[in-house]
Symmetry: D2
């Protein structure tokens, strides 16, 4: 097993989930690489030092450039706010590093294009961390679609509902609330939440051709954590859009941070000619399934506990025993395992930067449509 | 369509559900009889008169004997407290009336035997109102068992949990709370709630051979509504028993009125070699189904909305359209329809008095076992 | 109690639900009128005769005009396809009859306006049968909103998903499938299903100011039941729209008959500042409730079994006992009881024809928006 | 942070869960010890070597005695079949090691007593791995009970239902199926599954005073994996018992491996005067809660997603963000964190060997009761 030196940039929520994956992957998956926690970069010295100690990084730096330039780093793992993705990723590509980048790809399509160009030119393996693809139930849905079990698709529906910004006292900017600051995040729920829904939808259901959207900012002004002063809110608090897919099906998407009672209600439902599928992140180990092919009087929605079935359910034979669930964090382990296997095989691992650029384009079209109050076509690829 | 004159005895909760069935049955079922609300009997003149007017009875009396003696009554419908069933039913049988009697059959096995002897001797049609058998999902369960879909049965489990007597301020006796008075009810949850569970279980799963039970009376003394004075409580507040069925399966039953949060949680679950079934009265239009015969990776519990499927689900093609549920009251309509069709065909309709006597025997064995702290065998039939 | 002579027009699915309500209302509700099933009108003599006999109508006619002209009819109950509502309702109003009309109000806004003008001019009581308002859980939701328990509303979401027209072999037109024939129905899911969602939404959440919609007709041609020949399909098979409410909240609505696995999945969810509400027609006796005011660590979605609570939950103290559910049909009984009480009090009963015209206008705006691919404003009232 | 050298004995399913905990605990919990994977013992050289390499153990041995004797081992972690617990634990205690032992404590009460005596004499920290106590929702239930939120307890109900041994082709003995071999396991579902239920119940609800049980062995003979020959089955395939708790409440417990459709349906329900609690291992991150103290009309069962709430829900502030669930494996991390904190503080950590002996006694009483067909009293402690 070959060692693979990891340089992590960032040590927040995503820095933790990615690091955990690097530490766990070899115990559960037989893969040709062993990630070594070589270095972590972060701006605040005391915080990055504490993080390095807790998680077992061999070293730390306060300037990400120093990390990218190190010869002994094989893979750069980017876990910083969206506005820093492009610069770091381009530098890492130029330095010949493999790159694992948090989602969304970038602040905007233009940045995304530059990132794709950079990895293409450098020929380095690259992956964007749309981790929900690799929740076993979600991967299982893709498997069922690919087996043709759903037939023609009529509807694709997805929501991502949260409630954490209802209070106007939540600030914008800073470390914990940069997602509310348009300068750091690029957009609100569209880039943060809908990007997940769109990534999964494009994977499950193919290209989106047109979108029509509505956005709203319920709280118009919030204190900025950096300045301590009220500042206009530039992000979308809520976004709804419907769309058409190239396969003829209709899409309906919604995300908000003002849905009281929901913390992370990412749900999707796919209605096909022969069968339908539903999933909900709150109970991520279950897939709901309805098959018209069942004996008529016995038809009903099944709640499938996706925890193994003899190895036929994705990833689960690597964990415990049937009936015992895994959690959120394991999706990052699966993502890393797949990435490392693909690297060893010299193959791309989806969603690549190029794949994620498509999601970025849909997000951009959604925001444009909402601003214009009109349908926006996606460019043909 | 022949008219069938109904004489109702009692006008409480059950008097209402039975009367409603008599009024509705012909609109929804094609049956050879038309029930006519001829007379109702009740002890309190003002109450019985008001009831007769509201529900459209042609006449009323305050003495049930007067009703039973009337020549123009074809069917006597007994909806009074348990301690009156035997006397009325025997008189009605002797008068040659058809009899529909509320459950449980009687106060005790001895009374039950006399009732069976009376209807046998008179040769009159008779039915005990274990109405839950005829909730469509429960009947559907029986159909699936009879089709052999479950294979060998390993376990039968049933609960009936309520919470309405937790407060010691609830009185015993009187009109509304006679179920807490052992003189009127014969027993507590065993006769009131477990009798339902046992009736369904005997129907679904065959004879019970042995029982082992535990009972408890949590509130030892309650004011009696008739005397206004505290009096020892003679009923069982809670009862748990396990048992063996003749088919080799194990049973586990429990009822209580001290399960905070449950109003009418009658549930059963049957585990067979090939499939399992679950049901819950709180959502009575659904049946949960698990089939080992499903494709392995897609196995899961199905929630079947039992609301038609092309007429294959019991009773439901008589009501509305698929997806639209019926309620509790319709089970009495089904019961009446089946009874009237059987009468016209000259066939018995289960559960007859004789069938219900078996349930009475199991209840008696349960109470005996709890008192003795030992297994009690059911007599071979 | 005063007798109120009912003349029913139509004897299909809705003719049955309305007639059932006329027969049941006095047994369960103390109201100042007793509906008398005086006459029913239907085009096919054998069918209307059989219906009259089954349900106890005193007489029948094959021409609705004959019924409307009868002096002894007090209330005309319109249960025919949408394209006949206007002509019948206007004639009934001119004849001075009280009118109960099935939903949607009319084929289009113009017809609706004429109907409103006719009942206004005649001064007759009028009600449109958006029965789902009077499912207890739905009425309960309105009560909670009116108590201010939700605070500022951010989101209103409603779906009505079915799957019965996926097969291209389902015909259009005729008795059973007139809802697929644009000439009889006026529109597809918009008038049939979304009209219900919109009626409830306007009641719960106030006026809609703008809509933006997408529709699709998946099966372009179906055999017409009258001609036996293939004919283009003129209805919308699916419709999605988002909108803005006057209170600042965002709406998201969808209906389809191509959602495999759903028979009647009418759901709504309301997200307020302090609390959220969800409901699903498939389990109509439950309301889901989330309150931010609950003790923090114990917050969660509650599943409230709306079956009484001491008379505080709407309508349920008229039926059975807590824990025992009612079904779909009872919503029509509630509707009738409310209508008759309002008539006696000389007050309007919502949704009146005028109220229903607003729903008609929203439906029209939705269809217009979908055709134009653009936002459509609702006129200020 | 002090290093704590771990010697693991066994490398099966439990060896994996415990090792994972040793590797993860410091990243998520601030505790005074850092577990070092010093050595692992296992009988099959190739297997133990592979396990050591995969999980990062510094060394391996094939004789557990060699491991126990090593001076550089601080904590012995026993993850072997039940029949080996006593011998290893006694030796480890005599060698002065801290001990973490898989459940159940021992094969029988006599072995258990010796183990307790050994750790008492040696004065070494000891813990039995009843890991389900430390699923956050289960710990949360204990917290709510201790806060007095339930009031007087009336009922405690627990099930543990599986379906993996229905086929008579499943062998007994060997590595994968030693749980079916009475020589290795001591008992069947009683020691394997009910032991978990009993441990939780004693913790939640206090001592059990009397039990009355029924057991069954559905498949009487199975091939033995060691001999390849059919051999009588000595374990209980299913066990049901009811009991009385010292606090006056009634218990009802059941476990089986013949409940088609259930993989790991460990559920419990507690009914108190003021509130009730339900939990299900299949969705382990949720707790169901019903409070009579809620506003009457809004009472209902709440589904609490136990994933943080501001740090008030046990353990969850150490993981991700609200709404994102953890899985089965994390319960072992919590257990280890609590154990290490207690060791540092010089305090016992429940369930100690002595605590687990109580569970062993209840299991023994259950088996004795089933054999005798009679109530069995638990000795007063």
């Amino acid at each position: 097993m070959k060692k693979l030196n990891v340089g992590m940039i960032g040590y927040g929520f995503m820095g933790r989930t990615h690091t955990n994956a690097h530490r766990q992957v070899n115990a559960f998956f037989d893969i040709p690489f062993q990630p070594i926690l070589k270095a972590v970069a972060g701006r605040r010295q005391d915080a990055v030092r504490e993080f390095a100690a807790r998680w077992g990084y061999e070293s730390w730096v306060t300037d990400w450039r120093a990390l990218v330039e190190r010869k002994d780093i094989d893979l750069v793992d980017i876990c910083v706010p969206n506005n820093l993705h492009a610069e770091i990723a381009v530098a890492a590509a130029q330095a010949g590093k493999m790159i694992l980048c948090e989602k969304p790809l970038a602040l905007d399509v233009e940045q995304g294009r530059r990132m794709v160009a950079a990895v293409d030119k450098a020929g380095v393996p690259n992956l964007v961390s749309f981790n929900y693809r690799r929740v076993p139930a979600v991967t299982f849905a893709k498997m069922l679609i690919d087996e043709g079990k759903l037939g023609r698709i009529f509807h694709y529906r997805a929501n991502f509902l949260q409630d954490w910004t209802i209070s106007p006292d939540v600030p914008q900017g800073g470390t914990a609330t940069w997602r509310l600051d348009v300068a750091a995040a690029g957009s609100g729920v569209t880039g943060d939440l809908l990007a997940h829904c769109i990534d999964t939808a494009l994977w499950h259901n193919g290209p989106i051709t047109r979108v029509n959207a509505m956005t709203e900012t319920f709280v118009k002004e919030r204190m900025h954590a950096d300045t301590g002063k009220p500042q206009p809110v530039g992000i979308d608090d809520a976004c709804t859009f419907f769309c058409r897919f190239a396969n003829g099906s209709l899409g309906n998407f919604e995300a908000t941070r003002y849905a009281r009672g929901h913390k992370a209600l990412y749900t999707f439902e796919i209605n096909g000619e022969h069968a339908s599928i539903r999933w909900d992140l709150h109970d991520l180990h279950r897939l709901e399934w309805f098959s018209h092919g069942d004996e008529g009087k016995l038809r009903g929605w099944r709640s499938i506990h996706v925890t193994d079935h003899g190895g036929e359910q994705p990833y689960m034979d690597h964990w415990w025993v049937p009936g015992l669930q895994i959690g959120y964090a394991e999706s990052f382990v699966h993502q890393l395992a797949d990435f490392l296997v693909a690297i060893a095989a010299g193959k791309p691992c989806a969603p690549t930067f190029r794949d994620a650029l498509q999601t970025q384009k849909v997000c951009a079209a959604v925001l444009k449509s909402a601003a214009a109050g009109a349908w926006v076509d996606l460019p043909k690829e």
